[in-house]
C-alpha cells in the first residue's frame, strides 16, 4: 500500500484519542478540532519524509497543541509565526507524552468526548451526527448522505448541536466510578442507535448506510479497548458484530428484506460471527447480565444454527425471559412470543401477546406476528384482519410486501395448512 493510504488509516485511528486529549487542553470543541486538523496537515507533510512516528496519537496531540498555542499567541501579540522546525526535536517529546498518555489516562478523555455527544437535550439523530463529525471525523457531506439530507441542512444541524453541548459543561475532572458507568451507558446507547440507523433499512438506499454500521462497530471496539473488563461493552460489540455479519444476506436483489429464516446463511460473515461469539462467551463469564449481553446471546443462538430448523428456540426463550425481568417492555415480550410459538406452539404465543394489544396497537410487528400465529391456527379471517392492520402500519414498502405475501398465500391455498410458521414474522433480520 502507498504512504498516503497508511497515513490516512493512522490519522483515522488516532483521531478519537487525539481530539479527546486536545479537548482536555483547550476545553473547547472547535479549538480542539482545528488543532487536530492542523496536526494532520503537518503529518501529511512530515510522515512521508521521516516515516511514521512510533505513537501517531501522541505526535498529533503534541503538534496540535503547539500549533494551537502558537495561534493563540500570534493572535494576541501579532508575532511572526515560529518556524516549522519547532517540531524538529519531536522524538524525545513524543516519548515523553506517550508515557503520560497511557491507557488509564486517555480512556476518560475519549469517554468524555463521546459522552459530550450524548447530551440528553440533543435528539438521537443529532447525537449521532455529532459523534460522526467530532469523534469519527466523517465529513459533513458523508454524514448528510447517510441521513439523506442536504449538506447545508446537516452543517446547520451539527453547528446547532455543537453550540448546545458547548454550553453543557461536562466536567473535566477524572470521573468517579458511578459517573463513569453512567457515561459508558449513555455512550453505549448512542452507539447502538448509530448502528441501528445504518441497519434499519427504513428510508432510502441501504448501501449508503452500511458505513454507519461499520463506524458503530469501530467505536464500540475503541470503547472496549479502553474499558476491557466491562461485560456490557463486550456484549454491545458482540451484538453489533453478530447482527452486521448477516448484512450480506439481509436484502434480496431488489432491496427487499429477507427474513432470518429465508436468509442464505452461507453469505453470513464467518469472521464477524466468530469474533461475536468469542465476545459473548467472554462477557457471560462475568455473570453480570445486561441487555446488550442478552441480545448478543440471542443473536449468537441464531448465528450458531447452520439451518433455521436447528435454532435452539428454548434457549432464546430463556434469554428473553431474563431480558423481560431486566428491561421489561411490550416489545421484548413480543419477541419472546416468537420463541414461545416455536417451543410451545401458536396458542401459547397468542396468549402471551394478548395483553400487548393495547400498548402495541400502533406497532407493525405486533399485528404481523398476531396474523402469522392466527394463520398457523387456520383462523384465516382473523389473520387477514391482523395482516391488514400491519400493512397499514408498515414503514417501508418491503415490510408491506412481506405481509402481502402471507395474504396472497392464504388466498391461494384457501384452507389451513402448516405454513411458514410464526417465524415468518420475525423481527430479527
Amino acid at each position: 500500500m502507498n504512504d498516503i493510504g497508511w497515513i490516512d488509516a493512522a490519522l483515522t485511528a488516532a483521531r478519537p484519542q487525539a481530539v479527546a486529549a486536545l479537548l482536555r487542553y483547550f476545553r473547547d470543541l472547535d479549538t480542539a478540532e482545528e488543532a487536530f486538523q492542523e496536526a494532520c496537515l503537518r503529518a501529511l507533510k512530515h510522515w512521508p519524509l521521516n516515516g511514521p512516528p512510533r505513537d501517531p496519537a501522541a505526535w498529533l496531540i503534541l503538534v496540535g497543541r503547539n500549533v494551537a498555542l502558537d495561534h493563540v499567541r500570534r493572535r494576541s501579540r501579532q508575532e511572526a509565526l515560529p518556524p516549522d522546525d519547532v517540531i524538529s526535536d519531536l522524538e524525545d517529546a513524543e516519548a515523553n507524552v506517550a508515557e503520560r498518555l497511557d491507557n488509564a489516562h486517555y480512556r476518560d478523555d475519549v469517554l468524555r468526548l463521546l459522552f459530550i455527544c450524548c447530551h440528553p437535550e440533543l435528539p438521537a439523530t443529532q447525537q449521532i451526527a455529532l459523534a460522526l463529525r467530532i469523534v469519527s471525523g466523517l465529513y459533513v457531506k458523508e454524514i448528510a448522505r447517510a441521513f439523506l439530507v442536504s449538506e447545508a441542512a446537516m452543517e446547520q444541524r451539527i453547528t446547532r448541536a455543537k453550540r448546545r453541548v458547548g454550553a453543557a459543561d461536562v466536567p473535566f475532572e477524572t470521573p468517579g466510578a458511578p459517573e463513569r458507568a453512567q457515561r459508558l451507558a449513555a455512550v453505549a446507547a448512542m452507539l447502538y442507535l448509530l448502528f441501528n440507523e445504518g441497519y434499519s433499512a427504513s428510508g432510502g438506499d441501504v448501501h449508503v448506510r452500511v458505513p454507519l454500521c461499520e463506524e458503530a462497530i469501530r467505536l464500540a471496539r475503541l470503547l472496549l479497548r479502553l474499558f476491557p473488563a466491562e461485560p456490557e461493552i463486550m456484549g454491545l460489540l458482540a451484538l453489533l458484530l453478530l447482527q452486521h455479519a448477516r448484512a450480506p444476506a439481509r436484502l434480496d436483489s431488489e432491496g427487499a428484506i429477507v427474513l432470518l429464516d429465508d436468509q442464505d446463511r452461507s453469505l453470513w460473515d464467518r469472521e464477524m460471527i466468530d469474533e461475536g461469539l468469542a465476545l459473548v462467551e467472554k462477557a457471560l463469564r462475568h455473570r453480570r447480565p445486561g441487555p446488550y449481553q442478552i441480545q448478543a446471546a440471542i443473536a449468537a443462538v441464531h448465528a450458531r444454527a447452520p439451518r433455521p430448523e436447528q435454532t435452539d428456540w428454548a434457549e432464546i426463550d430463556r434469554q428473553y425471559a431474563i431480558l423481560e425481568t431486566l428491561q421489561p417492555s411490550p416489545v421484548v415480550t413480543l419477541n419472546r412470543a416468537v420463541a414461545v410459538s416455536k417451543v410451545q406452539g401458536p396458542v401459547a404465543a397468542l396468549e402471551m401477546i394478548e395483553g400487548l394489544a393495547q400498548p402495541l396497537a400502533g406497532y407493525f410487528h405486533f399485528h404481523g406476528l398476531k396474523g402469522a400465529l392466527l394463520m398457523q391456527l387456520g383462523r384465516d379471517a382473523e389473520a387477514r384482519d391482523a395482516f391488514n392492520r400491519a400493512i397499514a402500519l408498515a414503514h417501508t414498502p418491503a415490510e408491506a410486501a412481506h405481509i402481502r405475501l402471507h395474504l396472497d398465500r392464504m388466498q391461494r391455498e384457501g384452507k389451513p395448512r402448516s405454513t411458514k410458521k410464526a417465524s415468518a414474522h420475525q423481527r430479527q433480520g
Partner: protein
C-alpha cells in the same frame, strides 16, 4: 531448524483500512505463502482476532483472569501454544492446566488466550 515468525502491527490503524485493502493484502500474500508451503518451509500460520477478544491469565503468587491482552513491556514472548477447545471456558481451563507446573516451579508471568480468526494448516515441514 524451526523458527517462529511473529507479526506485529498497529491494530487500530490496520482495522481502519477498508476491507477491500485487507482482501488485497491477503490475495498478494497467498502465492508467497503457498510457494513457501510447497518448499516445505511454511507450516501452520494464523491470524489472531483483535485484542479486544483476548483474556489474560496472570500468574505468580496467585492467578488472576484479566480481560484484555497481555500489556506489560517488562516481559517477553517466550513461547506459544495452539489449542482446540469447544468454548471459551474450556480454553481458560486448558490455560490453567498449563499453568500448574509453571506455578509449581515458582514462575511468574502471563498466558494470553486469544481466539484465532483464520488459520491455514500449511505444508509439511521438512
Amino acid at each position: 531448524m524451526l523458527y517462529a515468525i511473529l507479526c506485529y502491527s498497529d491494530e487500530v490503524a490496520t482495522r481502519a483500512k477498508p476491507k477491500a485493502q485487507d482482501d488485497a493484502l491477503l490475495a498478494d500474500l497467498e502465492p508467497v505463502q503457498r510457494q513457501l508451503c510447497d518448499e516445505g518451509k511454511l507450516g501452520p500460520h494464523l491470524r489472531l482476532m483483535p485484542t479486544t477478544a483476548a483474556t489474560t491469565l496472570r500468574y505468580g503468587k496467585e492467578t488472576v483472569v484479566l480481560d484484555g491482552p497481555f500489556a506489560e513491556t517488562k516481559e517477553q514472548l517466550l513461547g506459544f501454544y495452539v489449542i482446540e477447545c469447544a468454548n471459551f471456558d474450556e480454553a481458560i481451563e486448558v490455560g490453567q492446566r498449563l499453568l500448574g507446573p509453571r506455578i509449581a516451579h515458582g514462575g511468574a508471568g502471563a498466558l494470553e488466550i486469544r481466539p484465532v480468526a483464520m488459520s491455514w494448516t500449511g505444508g509439511s515441514l521438512k
